[in-house]
C-alpha cells in the first residue's frame, strides 16, 4: 500500500437508514486515499477472479463481498471525521427516538414489499410474519421523520422581519410576534436571541410542531438567522461540538451564521451558548450540559405511550419541541457542575435524571428499558419459527406476550419496570440460526447498545471522553471508500463481549448492504438500487463487473458470461429473495439454484 498524502483531507457522511458510513476525498488531485489506482491489465485479471468468486456465491444464492480492515496509515485528518461518523452511529443505535425511526423504516419496507407482491417476512418489523402496520399510521410517522431530518434554509433580512415578510413556516402555528421569547443579552452582547414556535411542513396540510431559534449578529451581518431544533440540526451541532472537544480545539463562538452549513453545525450550540452561557463559569461544563441536553432530547419515551394531552405527545415525539422545552426550562435548574473526582458520565446521567424528575418526563433509564423490551420482541419475532416449543420456551414467550401479567397492564412498561423478567428471554437468541431477516443484525446491535446505556449511563452523551470504550463495543459496521468496503479498525474487539444479542461483523455487514440495496423500496421503487439512488459505487461496479440496472458494457457482459455470473449483484440477490424482482429474473435464478442443488 502506498503512503497516503499527509495533507489529504476527507469528509464523511452517515446514513440513518442503511447505516453506511461513507468517506470522500476532498483533494481530488491527491492519490487514492488508501491504495493506488489499478492499471488496466490488473483490472482485467482481478476482475475475472472476482467475477469467478461472485459466481461461486451466486450459485448458492449468496452475495460476494470483499472487505478489509481500515488501514493504519490513513491521512491524519481521517481520525476526527471517523469520530464524527462513529458518533452518529452511536446516536442512532442507542437512542429510542432514532431506533424507533429505523423500526418504522423497516415497517415501511415491509409494506412496500407486500404491495409489490413480495415476501415482507424477510424484513424485520413490529408486526409478525405477513402482517403489516396500518399504512395511515406509518405514513404520518414517516413524514414527521422526514421533517426531523430536513434542512430549512430560513435566513432573511432585517427589513423582511420589520415588514413581516416571513417564510410561510411561521404562519402554520401563529404569528411570529406572539411566540417569541427574548432571552436577554448574551454575555458577548450578541442579541437578540429568540426561541420561536414553528410548524415544519412535511406533507400537504401536515406540520411538525417544534421550536427553533432566531439569532442576529448585528456586528457582522445584516441577516436574521432562523433554524429549527429538529433532529438534523441537533445531532450535527452535538457531533460538531463533540468533535471540537475530541480534537482539543476551542469551542466555537461564531461571529455570524449566514451560511446554511454553519447554521447546521453551530446554530443550536450558539443558541445554547447565548441562553445558558452567563449561567456557567466554565465553558467546558457549558458544553457538557449542551451534550447532555441533546442526548436527553433524543432519549424520549416513544414506545406504547398513550399521551393524555397533545403537550405530552409533542414532548415525546417532536425533537424540536422537546429540545425547545428542555433548553428553556433548564434555566430553572442548577447548572451542570461535576465536582472534582466526579466521573463526567455519572454527572451527566444525574443531571438528566434530575431534570426528568423535576419536569415530569420519563427517565432515560425507563425509556431505554422500554425500547430494549420492544427490540427484544422484534428480534425474537424474526426467528420465532426456529424456537423449539419446550415448556420453558413457552413460559418465556408468555411472559413476553403479557399473558402472565395482571389484566390491563401495559406490558412494555411493566417489563421495563421489572427488567429482570426480560433478561431470561435473551436465552432464546441461541435459536437465532439460519438466514437472518433484513434489519435483524442492526436491531440486535441496537438492543446491545440499550444494555450498554443502562449499565454505563451518560457515556453515549459524551463520546469525546468515552470513545475508546464505545468504539471497542460498537465499531462502525461498514465504512465505504470509493466502492471498497472496510471494517472499522476496532471491530475485532467488538465480538462476543457479553451483550444479549450475539453479533458477527460479517452478518452485520451483509445486513447493511441489504438495507442500502433495498432502500428505494421505501418509495415503492422495486427496480431501483440504493447504491444507484445515492450515486455510490458498490463492490460489483468497483470490481469492474458493472451494474446490471445501469447497463453493462460489452466487456462487462463478456466477463459475466464467461463465469456465468449473469446479472447477479447485491440488488438481484435481495430482489429475488423478497420476490420483488421482475418475474423472469426470479424464475431464471430459482431454476438455476434447483439445478445446483440437484432438485
Amino acid at each position: 500500500m502506498e503512503e497516503p498524502t499527509p495533507g489529504a483531507r476527507i469528509e464523511g457522511n452517515y446514513n440513518f437508514e442503511s447505516l453506511f458510513c461513507n468517506l470522500f476525498r476532498v483533494d481530488m488531485a491527491s492519490p487514492d486515499l488508501v491504495h493506488p489506482p489499478r492499471s488496466h491489465s490488473d483490472l482485467t485479471t482481478e476482475t475475472l477472479l472476482q467475477a469467478a468468486e461472485a459466481s461461486f456465491h451466486a450459485r448458492r444464492a449468496a452475495d460476494a463481498v470483499q472487505i478489509q480492515r481500515l488501514p493504519d496509515n490513513l491521512p491524519p485528518s481521517t481520525a476526527p471525521v471517523l469520530f464524527h461518523e462513529r458518533l452518529h452511529y452511536w446516536q442512532m443505535i442507542s437512542c429510542p427516538k432514532l431506533q424507533w425511526h429505523f423500526v418504522l423504516f423497516l415497517d415501511k419496507l415491509r409494506a412496500q414489499v407486500a404491495a409489490a407482491g413480495g415476501l415482507p417476512h424477510w424484513i424485520c418489523g413490529q408486526t409478525y410474519a405477513e402482517q403489516l402496520v396500518p399504512p395511515e399510521i406509518l405514513e404520518e410517522s414517516l413524514k414527521s421523520i422526514d421533517a426531523e431530518f430536513a434542512v430549512y434554509p430560513m435566513t432573511l433580512s432585517q427589513e423582511n422581519l420589520r415588514t413581516g415578510k416571513l417564510p410561510p413556516i411561521f404562519d402554520s402555528v401563529d404569528r411570529l410576534g406572539e411566540n417569541w421569547i427574548t432571552t436577554g443579552d448574551a454575555p458577548d452582547g450578541a442579541w437578540p436571541t429568540s426561541q420561536l414556535l414553528l410548524g415544519l411542513p412535511h406533507s400537504p396540510g401536515k406540520k411538525l410542531i417544534g421550536y427553533g431559534a432566531m439569532l442576529m449578529f448585528p456586528a457582522a451581518s445584516e441577516k436574521v438567522v432562523i433554524f429549527p431544533f429538529n433532529g438534523l440540526y441537533l445531532m450535527e451541532s452535538a457531533a460538531y461540538i463533540s468533535q471540537q472537544l475530541y480534537e482539543g480545539r476551542p469551542l466555537p463562538k461564531p461571529e455570524q451564521l449566514d451560511e446554511i452549513e454553519d447554521q447546521k453545525y453551530l446554530g443550536v450550540w450558539e443558541y445554547w451558548r447565548r441562553l445558558h452561557g452567563h449561567r456557567y463559569s466554565s465553558e467546558a461544563n457549558l458544553a457538557l450540559a449542551f451534550l447532555a441536553a441533546v442526548d436527553l432530547t433524543i432519549m424520549s419515551d416513544v414506545i406504547d405511550i398513550t399521551p393524555s394531552d397533545s403537550e405530552t405527545h409533542l414532548e415525546m415525539f417532536s425533537l424540536p419541541y422537546r429540545f425547545g422545552k428542555l433548553a428553556f426550562a433548564l434555566q430553572g435548574l442548577e447548572p451542570l457542575q461535576p465536582k472534582d473526582g466526579d466521573e463526567p458520565a455519572q454527572a451527566v446521567a444525574q443531571f438528566q435524571e434530575q431534570f426528568c424528575q423535576w419536569y415530569g418526563w420519563p427517565s432515560p433509564d425507563f425509556a431505554i428499558k422500554k425500547m430494549a423490551v420492544q427490540l427484544t420482541r422484534i428480534v425474537v419475532g424474526a426467528f420465532a419459527r426456529h424456537i423449539p416449543a419446550t415448556p420453558e420456551n413457552k413460559a418465556l414467550i408468555e411472559t413476553f406476550l403479557g399473558d402472565s401479567l395482571p389484566p390491563g397492564t401495559p406490558q412494555t412498561s411493566y417489563l421495563a419496570e421489572h427488567f429482570e423478567l426480560v433478561e431470561p428471554i435473551w436465552n432464546l437468541f441461541q435459536y437465532a440460526t439460519g438466514a437472518p431477516r433484513i434489519g435483524q443484525q442492526v436491531l440486535g446491535n441496537m438492543l446491545n447498545a440499550c444494555l450498554y446505556r443502562i449499565k454505563h449511563p451518560g457515556e453515549f452523551a459524551l463520546p469525546h471522553l468515552y470513545h475508546a470504550g464505545l468504539g471497542r463495543q460498537f465499531p462502525l459496521p461498514l465504512v465505504l471508500i470509493d466502492g471498497t468496503y472496510y471494517l472499522d479498525q476496532e471491530v475485532g474487539n467488538a465480538l462476543n463481549v457479553g451483550w444479549p444479542y450475539p453479533i458477527t461483523g460479517m452478518e452485520t455487514l451483509h445486513d447493511l448492504i441489504a438495507l442500502m440495496t433495498i432502500k428505494p423500496l421505501k418509495y415503492g421503487e422495486a427496480g431501483q438500487c440504493g447504491f444507484l439512488e445515492e450515486a455510490l459505487e458498490c463492490f460489483y461496479v468497483k470490481s469492474g463487473l458493472g451494474c446490471p440496472i445501469r447497463g453493462l458494457t460489452s466487456e462487462q457482459r463478456e466477463i459475466r458470461e464467461k463465469v456465468q455470473l449473469d446479472d447477479w449483484c447485491h440488488w438481484t440477490l435481495r430482489s429475488v429473495l423478497l420476490r420483488t424482482a421482475p418475474e423472469e429474473i426470479q424464475i431464471k435464478w430459482r431454476k438455476r439454484w434447483e439445478v445446483e442443488s440437484g432438485h
Binding site: 483531507r9 469528509e11 470522500f24 476525498r25 464524527h84 430536513a150 439512488e533 445515492e534 450515486a535 445501469r550
Partner: protein, 122 residues
C-alpha cells in the same frame, strides 16, 4: 433543445463550482448527516466517477456543435440535453453537471477527445 427552463439554467450558472459539486449529490442522499464539506466532497467524487462516461457523451456533441456557441446558457442546455438519457447520469441531477462542465471549460474537459471518438459503451 429548449426543454430546460433558461432561468433555471442561468441560476445554476450563477453558482460557484463548489456549490455545483454539492448539487451533484442526489436529492435523497442530501438529507443525511454529513460532516462539514462532505456534500462538496461527495459531489466531486460523483463527478470523477462519471467523468469518463460523461466525456464520451458530451465532448462529441461539443466538438460538433458547441465550439461556436458563445452563450453559456445555450451551451449548458446543449450539454444537459446530451446527458439527459445517459445511464451514466442515473440518479444524478443533469443541470448542475452541465453547468459545472461549462464553468470548468469544455475546451479543457474535452481536450483529448476528437469529434469522431467512440461515443462509449452500450
Amino acid at each position: 433543445m429548449d426543454s430546460f427552463d433558461r432561468e433555471e439554467v442561468k441560476s445554476f450558472l450563477d453558482l460557484g463550482e463548489q456549490e455545483l459539486y454539492g448539487l451533484l449529490v442526489p436529492e435523497r442522499a442530501r438529507q443525511q448527516l454529513n460532516s462539514p464539506g462532505a456534500l462538496m466532497a461527495r459531489g466531486k467524487n460523483i463527478f470523477l466517477s462519471r467523468a469518463s462516461e460523461v466525456r464520451s457523451i458530451v465532448c462529441r456533441q461539443y466538438k460538433q456543435r458547441g465550439t461556436s456557441m458563445k452563450n453559456t446558457i445555450d451551451l449548458t442546455v446543449l450539454v444537459a440535453t446530451a446527458l439527459l438519457a445517459s445511464p451514466a447520469m442515473l440518479g444524478i441531477p443533469v443541470l448542475p453537471m452541465a453547468a459545472l462542465l461549462v464553468k470548468i471549460g469544455l475546451e479543457e474537459f474535452c481536450r483529448s477527445v476528437t469529434p469522431e471518438a467512440n461515443p462509449g459503451h452500450g
